[in-house]
């Protein structure tokens, strides 16, 4: 067990964990931030997506020891993020979610896309969102909500 200092949503947190513990489980079990979801553990579904140093990252395969000083942003911080806020509001107004379990990850991927590519094409959307699985099949509305968000962020 080792102690790590993590910057999560702008706050410095100290956790003691096995260095190999994926960031996902540190967030969920040590920091009690359960908005980030476990879906597969092998970076195949994107439910655990966070921004690590600004880059959308599957937290289920990143050992906590490798995070180092890179800031971590999770779904819990999106209401205070100018792009995140818009995306969340559009997600609600377009009734995107169904079971909702994958949507934290979907929103984290969508926010990262809109930050790097403010006017995404269908191809950009498919590439950036391509690793986020939704078993309810909300893809049609996710695609539309990203386009609406891009317009609103203008």
């Amino acid at each position: 067990m080792e102690t790590f200092k993590l910057t999560v949503n702008g706050q410095v947190k100290e956790v003691t964990a096995d260095p190999g513990t994926p960031l996902l489980w540190v967030l969920r079990e040590d920091l009690k931030m359960t908005g980030t979801k476990y879906g597969c553990g092998i970076a195949a579904c994107g439910a655990c997506t966070v921004h690590l140093g600004g880059v959308p990252t599957r937290s289920c395969v990143v050992p906590v020891a490798l995070v180092r000083n890179r800031p971590i942003l999770t779904i819990e911080a999106m209401a205070d993020d100018p792009v995140g806020r818009v995306v969340q509001d559009v997600w609600v107004s377009e009734d995107v979610v169904q079971c909702g379990y994958c949507q934290s990850g979907q929103i984290m991927s969508a926010v990262a896309l809109l930050k790097s590519t403010p006017k995404p094409t269908d191809k950009d959307i498919e590439e950036s969102m391509g690793g986020n699985l939704c078993r309810c099949g909300t893809y049609v509305r996710i695609r539309q909500a990203i386009k609406t968000s891009a317009r609103q962020l203008g």
Binding site: M1, A17, D18, G20, T21, P22, W25, R28, E29, D30, M33, T34, G35, T36, K37, Y38, G39, C40, G41, I42, A44, C45, A47, I75, E76, M78, A79, Q88, W91, V92, S93, D95, V96, V97, Q98, C99, G100, Y101, C102, Q103, S104, I107, D122, I125, E126, M129, G130, G131, N132, L133, C134, R135, C136, G137, T138, Y139, V140, R141, I142, R143
Partner: protein, 727 residues
């Protein structure tokens, strides 16, 4: 109306029976009864549901509605409160929906147990929630009328306020206490359709906000003081038992508390209890267990298909035999089609891995879990713990999808959790199935072989149809079997074929149900998944052979009473009229199917990109009777067709070799991602005032036949084996 749970009927305390009967549309009718002698005294459906078990008007004006079934994406947590709030004249912005715990009063009015299944939520609770709302409103008005010394008919209600004849007004929150002491009226008048303000309108989901900001708690997010996490090492072959295990390396992991053998519904396993998930996972990876796989059947997909193909050559138990079963013999071979279809096992893989949290306190227990079968799961946990069901408090947690996987008649996950909790006594334990457990753990949509011979008449329409279906029975060995398996035919295996809406004069359907050592389960739309594929691809083939328009051909072949499908096809015809000029190498595929009393038709525009079907757009028409929430219905159609695409994914199959499942996770068993789904999916609802029917399952069956019908037009090939590994 001040407390939420006062007047429940007596709980089930003695031995219980599940009784099942066939519903008109092939759905399930289940009733949970006490001992047979008490059946007459305990009707499954109370005549008047007690409003105080469903509605709580809080002093702050919030109206808390208990939803009597699981929410796992289908939108019932919004739709049922809509129905209630509409009749109650409640202020919708003040409505809070909660998932009710397990309780007799929350049993499905038709099934008789607390459950979600058969796309029955709205169909079964439509009247119930409307009546609850109307009764609550009547009681609030009566309370106001008494206070103002006027008659209730002189008062009216709007947006959580009662108005009197002389300018009086009172908020529901002010009246709630007095109303709670009034008798529940038996006779109430429901609103006319034209007076509805929420129902039949596009109302957004109540749970979106929490699901978009990370605050929504699912079963897997349950966190209790002192809670432990448990994983189980399951046998590598279904039903195998532990011969021995070396847990030294597992116990050496920091945070691991206990490693011990436990009985499972099938075979035995080794449970690992730890402080944290990751410790439990590492310990399980390091556990060295030996299994007795020699004494259990070790199924093998290739061998099973060979066996199934052989079985399909002879008729099975007869599901339906209409007119002359031998009419085929008088049709010349040139006018016959012989088609053999193969379908693999399919896993549900809901996004939220299966889990249940249990704390056992000796004389009672508390459970937290997302369950489609609260009544059944609660009974199973009680049985494991040696308690009565009413000693088990069962909290229904929001679930991240399910698609049938959270409705297991044997409650195997809940039994595992209870078994571990029993040993940990006093300590809450969250039992988690990892994604690997889920993919490899069975309870699949059964694999099937269909063998169909179609004789074509002089008019190009099918004159004779001989059809053999081979696949495991889902219902055999469950409490549902006595009523749902008739003449040796599991009705869920032949639904969508035996009861087809197509008018085929000489028609013979039979089924074989081999017993195989692979647990099987209903997978969103159940038998319709494979039966609709067979029917809709063959009908399309017949239409092409007859050089007929695929919609016109279907309309001609449908029986006159297939009103819902006729409505859907007619609407589809209109909505796709502009699809005449397509880009080169694009083609349209059509399919329609009725299931769970809802008709759905679908047109897709498809091309081939990177050797895979690319679905540029889908137009879906649906006749669900009266549309309670058109916004949710559209979501279910869009999502349901995407779920159905699982069937045609190149890695959309669970296979076994020497008894072991060959896929481990979503890398080997790969459901549709965004690029596999329709780019655009437009939904059109047939206007209707008929009683509402379900929308969760009916979109699933149509999409895979529609897609391959389009592919057939592009390549000239027929696709009869799923998954679609090659095009």
């Amino acid at each position: 109306m001040s407390t939420a749970t006062t007047s429940h009927p007596p709980s089930v305390s003695r031995r219980t029976f599940l009784r099942v009967s066939s519903a008109a549309a092939g759905g399930l009718l289940v009733s949970l009864y006490l001992d047979w002698p008490t059946i007459a005294q305990q009707p499954a459906t109370p005549k008047v549901y007690p409003p105080d078990a469903f509605v709580h008007v809080r002093p702050d004006g919030k109206i808390v509605v208990q939803v009597n079934r699981l929410e796992f994406g289908q939108g019932v947590q919004t739709a049922l409160p809509m129905l209630l709030a509409d009749e109650m004249d409640a202020d919708w912005l003040q409505v809070i929906a909660e998932l009710a715990p397990a309780g007799d009063v929350y049993r499905d009015p038709v099934y008789g147990i607390q459950m979600v299944g058969g796309s029955g939520s709205i169909a079964h609770s439509f009247e119930q929630y409307r009546q609850l709302g109307a009764r609550t409103r009547a009681m609030l008005i009566a309370a106001a009328a008494a206070q103002w010394k006027v008659t209730p008919t002189q008062c009216r209600a709007e947006s959580s306020v009662v108005y009197g004849p002389n300018g009086q007004s009172a908020r529901y929150a002010e009246l709630a206490e007095a109303a709670a002491h009034l008798p529940v009226p038996e006779n109430i008048q429901l609103k006319k359709e034209s007076d509805l303000r929420l129902t039949n309108k596009e109302v957004r989901r109540l749970d979106s906000g929490a699901k978009c900001n990370g605050s929504q708690k699912f079963g897997l997010d349950v966190d209790l003081p002192g809670m432990k996490v448990a994983l189980v090492a399951h046998p590598p072959v279904f039903g195998a038992k532990v011969k021995g295990f070396d847990a030294n390396a597992a116990r050496a992991i920091s945070g691991v508390q206990e490693v011990f053998e436990i009985p499972l519904v099938r075979g035995t396993g080794v449970a690992i209890v730890a402080d944290r998930f990751w410790a439990a996972k590492q310990a399980r990876d390091r556990l060295r267990a030996e299994w007795d796989t020699a004494s259990v059947e070790r199924p093998d997909t290739a061998q099973l298909f060979a066996k199934y193909r052989e079985l399909a050559r002879t008729p099975g138990n007869v599901a339906v035999s209409r007119a002359n079963a031998n009419a085929m013999d008088s049709i010349s071979p040139a006018n016959r089609i012989l088609a053999e279809y193969e379908f693999p096992y399919l896993a549900h893989t809901p996004m939220e891995p299966l889990n249940t949290t249990v704390r056992f306190d000796g004389d009672r227990a508390e459970v937290w879990g997302g369950s489609q079968f609260q009544t059944v799961d609660r009974m199973a946990i009680a049985e494991v713990l040696g308690l009565k069901p009413e000693q088990v408090t069962f909290h229904t947690e929001m679930a991240g999808g399910g698609f049938g996987r959270r409705a297991t008649p044997d409650s195997h996950v809940q039994r595992e959790a209870a078994t571990v909790a029993k040993r940990l006594r006093g300590i809450p334990v969250k039992l988690i199935w990892t994604r690997e457990d889920d993919v490899q753990g069975g309870y699949y949509r059964p694999m099937h072989v269909h063998r169909v011979e179609v004789g074509i008449g002089g008019d190009g329409m099918p004159a004779a149809w001989r059809h053999v279906i081979v696949g495991q029975s889902i219902l055999a060995g469950t409490p549902f079997a006595p009523m749902m398996v008739k003449n040796g035919v599991d009705s869920t295996a032949v639904e969508g074929t035996a009861d087809t809406k197509y008018n085929i004069p000489n028609f013979h359907i039979s089924a074989h149900h081999p017993a195989i050592n692979v647990p099987v389960l209903w997978w969103r739309s159940v038998g319709h998944t494979h039966n609709a594929f067979v029917m809709e691809t063959l009908i399309d083939e017949l239409a092409r052979r007859a050089k007929a328009d695929p919609i016109a051909y279907r309309l001609k072949l449908l029986s006159p009473d297939a009103k819902k499908l006729r409505n859907c096809l007619a609407l589809l015809q209109g909505k796709t009229a502009s699809w005449r000029s397509l880009p080169r190498n694009h083609a349209v595929g059509i399919a329609c199917h009725e299931s769970f009393e809802t008709g759905v038709a679908c047109a897709v525009e498809v091309s081939i990109e990177d050797k895979r079907p690319r679905i540029h757009r889908a137009t879906i028409t649906v006749d669900p009777g009266f549309a309670v929430n058109p916004l949710t219905i559209a979501s279910q159609m869009q999502g349901g067709v995407t779920f159905g695409i699982t069937q045609v994914m190149s890695r959309g199959a669970i296979t076994l070799k020497d008894g072991r499942v060959e896929q481990r996770n979503w890398d080997g068993y790969t459901p549709p991602y965004m690029k596999d789904a329709p780019v655009i999916a437009q939904v059109h609802i047939v206007p209707s005032s008929e009683k509402p029917s379900g929308c969760g399952e009916p979109p699933v069956p149509v999409i895979s036949p529609a897609v391959v019908n389009a592919l057939s037009r592009l390549t000239g090939k027929r696709y009869r084996t799923l998954p679609l590994t090659e095009i």
